[in-house]
């Protein structure tokens, strides 16, 4: 195969978002000595500017769809959707980090640089057409996230979270890599479309090995999306990590991991779907059930949101199990809706948590409706969306998922999933009860007013959640147009 090392101008255009964010990240680290003392907020502003530029670049890249860099990357609607999603998650994370970093006296450029790199990794994941590229993207994203999880290095829980996440995460990546190796052994290629072509007529001896590879890759990816039975790390890590990082981890890397989940399993492994569908079926049911039932008894809001995030991964797996184009579109829609409501909820947690995250118990929300009606009202929007009440994004997300499942004749999974969401209503309602129906306790500390960054993050998330709940058509139509990558 002739190798051409000079990228064409289209290639650069297609890769522009990643380039912009990488340059910005590097620049931030260079600027650190100059501005760290004087105006540490500048780093945040810069990274937001970089993210916004990257979103534009991603939109432009979508106008020249096709593969780039010898078919290593493929820019299609699907990739663009996820690119814009993870970059937006980056913006919301930065917005909700300002106050947090300020409070912890930890505003440095490296935080923002790591965030940018993590998003770069995710962008590579979602546009990759090659298992090696997927792996590289995953590692870029994960390593940055490992560091972010332990960002406050003097905090014990941060260290615990980072170490746990790192050890288990590397282990999971190992599984993924084994899977990739086996696939390469069978098909002599790492390109997804070529693998698909090879697997289209598998010999009888290859089938068993392909199944093993699929199972190994499933383990690796299930870990990344915190799906049962590989979810055990999530509560500890989400609880221990700094709150803005938890918000980011539960949305960005998860969305990207689901994107490659879809790409790999619906392109390369589509032929052996009969083999992996039961696996996903069981994993979906377990994730929903474990997540929801464990969340019922939590007293720490962050930990509760961690369990809820496991449950939501379960709902998304239901859409995956449907393995259809509507299922893919439903996954995309749900990830967008979930990202908005989850970051919103975490932003409220950041707001109330206080220095050193001392007040993140459920009872610390007591009387929030009286103390800060606006914050409570916004939190209500997110909680109702988690529950899946109509006119919120969460409702349409669930609706599309279960519709896809029913059309693929997964009747029991649908019924169990919906009953699960009725169980889930209970613990989300508890937060509503505490906020609206209990009086602030004696020990409740005075809350500072919402700062600009948090207010912006909350408003954008809430507006987005309601937008997706009232006019879901636009996003869904885009998702459906892009869901036909399965060719």
């Amino acid at each position: 195969m002739p190798v051409n090392f000079t990228p064409s101008s289209d290639d650069i255009l297609r890769f522009a978002p990643e380039l912009i964010m990488t340059i910005a990240g590097t620049l931030l680290m260079v600027l650190d000595p100059f501005f760290a003392k004087k105006s540490p907020r500048l780093f945040g502003h810069l990274s937001i500017a970089a993210f916004i530029a990257a979103i534009f670049a991603a939109a432009v890249a979508n106008s020249v769809p096709g593969s780039a860099y010898s078919n290593l990357l493929v820019i299609d609607g699907f990739g663009t959707f996820f690119r814009i999603l993870v970059i937006s998650i980056g913006i919301l994370t930065v917005l909700s980090s300002y106050r947090y970093l300020d409070r912890e006296k930890a505003e440095t450029s490296e935080y923002h640089a790591l965030l940018l790199f993590s998003v770069v990794g995710q962008c590579i994941m979602v546009t990759a057409n090659d298992l090696i590229m997927i792996f590289i993207g995953l590692e870029i994203s994960s390593i940055a996230t490992y560091v972010l999880a332990g960002y406050l290095r003097n905090d014990k829980r941060n260290n615990e979270a980072a170490l746990k996440y790192f050890l288990l995460g590397s282990f999971a990546t190992g599984f993924l890599l084994y899977g990739i190796a086996i696939i390469y052994g069978i098909s002599a290629t790492t390109k997804l479309d070529e693998i698909r072509a090879v697997l289209n007529n598998p010999g009888s001896d290859a089938f068993a090995m392909v199944s093993v590879a699929a199972a190994l890759m499933f383990v690796g990816l299930a870990f990344k999306v915190s799906a049962a039975p590989f979810q055990v790390w999530a509560p500890d890590v989400y609880q221990g990590a700094p709150a803005p990082v938890s918000a980011f981890m539960a949305t960005g890397p998860k969305a990207a991991a689901f994107a490659i989940f879809l790409r790999i399993f619906l392109t390369a492994f589509q032929q052996i779907a009969g083999g992996w569908e039961p696996l996903i079926w069981i994993s979906a049911l377990l994730s929903m059930t474990i997540g929801n039932f464990a969340a019922l008894t939590q007293t720490n809001v962050k930990r509760m949101l961690a369990y809820s995030s496991i449950a939501h991964a379960g709902y998304i797996l239901v859409a995956l199990a449907a393995r259809s184009e509507i299922g893919t579109a439903a996954t995309m829609f749900y990830l967008a809706a979930y990202a908005l409501m989850n970051i919103g909820a975490f932003a409220v947690v950041i707001h109330i948590s206080g220095k050193g995250e001392r007040t993140v118990k459920i009872e610390d929300l007591a009387g929030l409706a009286r103390r800060q009606p606006l914050t409570a009202a916004l939190m209500t929007v997110f909680l109702l969306s988690f529950i899946g009440v109509p006119l919120t994004g969460g409702f349409f997300g669930k609706f599309y998922i279960f519709r896809a499942a029913l059309e693929s004749h997964l009747v029991w999974l649908t019924v169990l999933g919906l009953l699960n969401s009725a169980v889930a209503a209970y613990y989300y309602l508890r937060l509503l009860v505490v906020m609206y129906m209990q009086e602030p306790g004696e020990a409740t500390t005075e809350l500072e007013p919402l700062t600009f960054g948090l207010r912006a993050a909350l408003t954008i998330s809430a507006a987005g959640t309601i937008f997706l709940g009232v006019i879901p058509g636009a996003i869904l139509a885009f998702a459906q147009r892009s869901a036909d990558f399965v060719r």
């Binding site: 409706a369 009286r370 009606p373 109702l384 529950i387 009440v389 109509p390 006119l391 409702f395 609706f399 279960f402 519709r403 029913l406 059309e407 009747v411 649908t414 019924v415 919906l418 009953l419 969401s421 009725a422 209503a425 209970y426 309602l429 508890r430 509503l432 009860v433 609206y436 129906m437 209990q438 006019i471 879901p472 058509g473 869904l476 139509a477 459906q480």
Partner: protein, 509 residues
Amino acid sequence: MNLLDLVIAIPGIGFLLALLIPRKQDQTIRLFTLGVSLVTFVLSLGLATGYQSGQTGQQFVTNFVWIANPEIHWHVGIDGLSLWLIVLSTFLTPIAILISWRYVHDRVKEFFAFLLLLEFGLVGVFSAWDLFLFYVFWEVVLVPMYFLIGIWGHDRRIYAAVKFFLYTMAGSVLMLTGIIFLYGRAGTFDYAVILDALATGRIALSHSEETLLFLAFFIAFAIKVPLFPLHTWLPDAHVEAPSAGSLMLASVMLKMGTYGLVRFCLPMFPTAARENAPWIVILAIIGIVYGALVAMVQPNMKKLVAYSSVSHLGFVVLGIFSFTQLGLDGAVYQMLNHGISTGALFVIVGFLYERRHSLAISDYGGVATVAPWLATVFLITTLASIGLPTLNNFIGEFLILQGAATAHFTWAIFAALGVILSACYMLWMYQRVFFGEVSEEVRHHVPDFNAREWACVIPLVIMMVWMGMYTQTFLPPVSETTTKILDQSKMNAPLRVALPHSGGSVHAR
């Protein structure tokens, strides 16, 4: 944009505007929400006068695409079944606002805004002709009521609110499964289209599919009705809710369940409805008798009225599943009657609570001596509730019993027990509260009605008499629609021979 859209939209817009009023201006908020609800009521009267009798289809239809894919329409319209339920909702909302005028002083803005949101949802539920839209409104109703109970309720309000929410949620997710399943088959959420496809056999459901779908819808509605043994959330919710919450809950929200049964379960799944009718009727009759017996021993007025609702709603379910013209007419009429008379009971019990700060029957006695007008109005309401002829409940119960007797004479015998028992518990409560020794507390703390309270009860009393004396105003559109629904449920073939003109015997009265 026609009149119906306005009646739905105005409370919704009013809710949003009310949220914008500054927090301190309590009186402005009260007046604003009252004004909005009165305008809505007046407009909804336009629906009643503009309703074309003799036309069985929907009227005041608006149909446009809300969400392109999957195609979900804003498809609203009314027929004889929904017409009066909508008017009932808009009629009771101003009353709910008025009775809370002084009662609520904490977080006034949210309270009155939630009442408008509730009205928005209720009117929407009764006019939606798109299954998806129906579900959206169904859930929208849940949220304000949850907060009304949870924030402004009594001591165990949180328990009651959460129980209420979870019961309803569990039912409605089953219904959502059913709706999505039907969509998968029909490719549309439009109720009229689905109904047509089912009737013409374009969608063929297997027997087990039909049964499961019927149950999915039925359980959601039965929880809302509530049908024995799914009723346990109701007494809690009623006792803990503020008066306005109890009023809207008993008078309109419970009707969402029975409305759903008539609107969706019967026409869409006629075979399953017919096959399952025997045990449903048994549950209804158990509910009638059980509700009445439990009501008799309640020491708490609100709980007594709540259990009486279980009993009364049992009648409605019995009427529906008797599959007779009379039974169905009576059921729909009884929904309205119960809304008025039980609503009035909750209103007056609420007034008593405001005076004496107790719901226990034993804390009262001799109220008739100190507040004769209050006692008189309560007596009229009590008599209406136990089904005295010339007052409204009599008509409904009579029709239901007649329908039940046509279907199965034994059903009527057992159900009639409920009528007798209702006289026992209501009159006994009346006697204990209003007659007897006047205690010091009652003498000093229980004045008679003031002007605002008169304004609340007079419309209710007028309606009780009007609906009891002159059914002609209300029943014809109802009968037309129920005839059609019976046709769709393919069950009235033998009866239509006996009663060629729908609801003929009622018109003769």
